[in-house]
Amino acid sequence: MTGSMIKSQNLPYCKGCGHDLIARSSTEALERLGYNPLDVIAVTDIGCHGIIDKCLNTHTVHGLHGRSVALGAGISFGTGNQDQKIVVFVGDGGTTIGLQHIMEAARLNLNVTVVVHNNMLYGMTGGQSSGLTPRGFCTTTSFKGNPFTGYDICKLAHTAGARYVSRIMGVGNITEAMMKAFDQEGFSLVEVMEICPSYGVKLNPRRKLKEIVKESGREVGEWTNDLPPFTNQQEDKTANLLDKTPVIATSFKHQLQKPYSLIISGSAGEGVQLAANIFAKAAMSAGLHATQKGSYPVTVGVGFSTAEINVSPEEVLFHGISIPDVALITSSDGLQHNRLRIERMQHGKLFIDSSLTPPKTGAEVIRRDFRSVGARNAAIHAILYLCRQTGILDESSVYHIIQEEGKADKLPVDKIKKAMES
């Protein structure tokens, strides 16, 4: 489709509203740059400026207040090429509430042009001050003048990495300035300064736009960064996530008649989850069903690390363990975390490192120096010792999984084997 970008000559703004000039100049600029209407995707924010979409012959996307830049960003990820032009129309209000989205689009240098309609207040909701309202400017919420400094969106976008930023006065002929902003690779933003006749002009009588802008310390100008525009760069992908979970063949036997629950607990960084994983897989290699659940404090590198394991000759439907059949405790962090459960054990076994004082428990207590093989190997040592003492699994199934999973270089198998014999 070729032809005019704009549908109607009567734009839906109050008389004298600066948004009118921006709409006309933007569409004219795009036409002069050679775009056809449907080469353009116009994303509009919520605010007076945003109601322009119905007057445009482009594709139009009209979303939420403040989110238009993020929505335009999403579209730019999807179009993935430069043939289409994504233009976002936003106000100073939308800029305030959605500042993060502008920073992000600038940082990534997305192929988007943002047109900020800065009339220095929230027009649509009644002329309240926004985050871009200059100090001293009167609004319906600051009749004596805004007591705060407004954001300089150009400076912010420039600092965030935008390839092109400009500030212009929304008077006279601004088409060429708009063309320049649109005709950029990567992120560009043009802030158009204007004044809303319905609120701004009334509340700031006799003040000229030029003078307000100047007094606010904002300069008209252009700022650029020599940074690369966005390209979609992805890490290497996996074609099938299921390929990453090796099938475990049944190569061992088991004698288990009923479900069996086990907790292993020690300190973070001491290989508890790895040992649990090996145990669960060893159980599977003996034809058992298994579940493994890990828990640790929010910071994974300190404190306890507990693994809960169920093994069973039939499918484990419910994997929760309140009081386990067996507890393996390799450090005082682990003991602290499970003390209550251990105290509640009425039977079963507690394997506990000999450096620790076992709590009162109905479980049979078995003490052993699990840490003799080094703290990092204490958990796997405990697992193997459990197998030897109870016959729950064939020890060789554990060694088998260590090999199969390529963990032999992580775990000093010979050293552990030697410790097992002492």
């Binding site: 449907l38 996996t238 669960a280 419910f318």
Partner: protein
Amino acid sequence: MHEKNSNDQVLIDGSRLIIESLARAGADAFIGYPITPANLLYLYGSQRMEMMLPAPDEITTVQWMAGLSATGKLPVTATSFPGFALMTESVNMAYMMELPMVIVLVQRLGPATGTATCGAQGDLLLLNGVLSGGHPIPVLGTSSFEDCWSLSARALEIAVKQRTPVILLTSKEEVMTQKSFDISRLETISKVERKWYDKDCCDYKPYKPTGLVPDFLPVTQAEHQVRLTASTHDQDGILQHSSPEALANTRRLEEKIRTTMKEDYLFYHLDHQEGAEKLVTAYGISAAAAREAVRKMRREGKKVSLFIPKTLLPLPPAYGEILSGYRRVVIAEENMNNQLGSLLFGQKMPENIRFVGNLGKMIAPEEIEKEVMS
């Protein structure tokens, strides 16, 4: 796919099944912001999806997804309550714009930040009211690894066919616990077929429905003008205050979801035992305990039936009917307030509906059994 008669036991978590299933069904972008307990989904999403983009927050997440969706992509994210709360307005937007996407919501203990590493089932009522106007949003709840696989693909299918955001509701223990599982049991998932508007046809109106759903065209083509809007709009996608055509459109959004969900996407598992007068009802993580409780009671010769709803919202009218066939119904749900029960019965809980709840830990099979037998 694997041979049906093989036994391919792997140690796997639900997150992996969910992402692989979504990818096979056609999801091609994962957008997200990390949050426990959804981090495995984020990790797998980044490894598996054609495009992965790390958003700076969850509002941005859904806005980026909506933008991608407008270009014809099928984006997916995963989050937990704190992130989902931020997404709310944008999910409303995507619903109004009719943009397909899937949000995996992994429940954790609330309110607020609550306990990141503790599971819960506290978000069903939130989802029931998450769209302004009380419009229903499709919510499917996983209750097993098979569901993580099959329902994820279904969620994407609903998103595409109904042009809507869809929530896949799960919880911490379902997506983080590793379990042995025979992957040869998994059904084959094929790519969801997408039918776009025939571009060579006549004039395109972006919100003119065929049946109840308007035909989709991406903003990346230049034959027809596409207008997408979150404001009340007519069939052209033009903002209207409350014109009859625009209100009809808003009504259609409600009808579209209600009708199709109860007709085409009614998923549940009813394991009725002949002669049983008692019914255990549970979805999500509590369904695991319910299954175990029922297995045990039946082994002891007790008669009991099991009901696992999977289409959670809009709540299918069929469920009330199912429950009414039993003298006693025990609903197990990991919260304090029987959210499923209150959706079914409101303030006036019938005498024969019993509730087993829990906070901060999974409901155990014994707790369910006790209530059934009491």
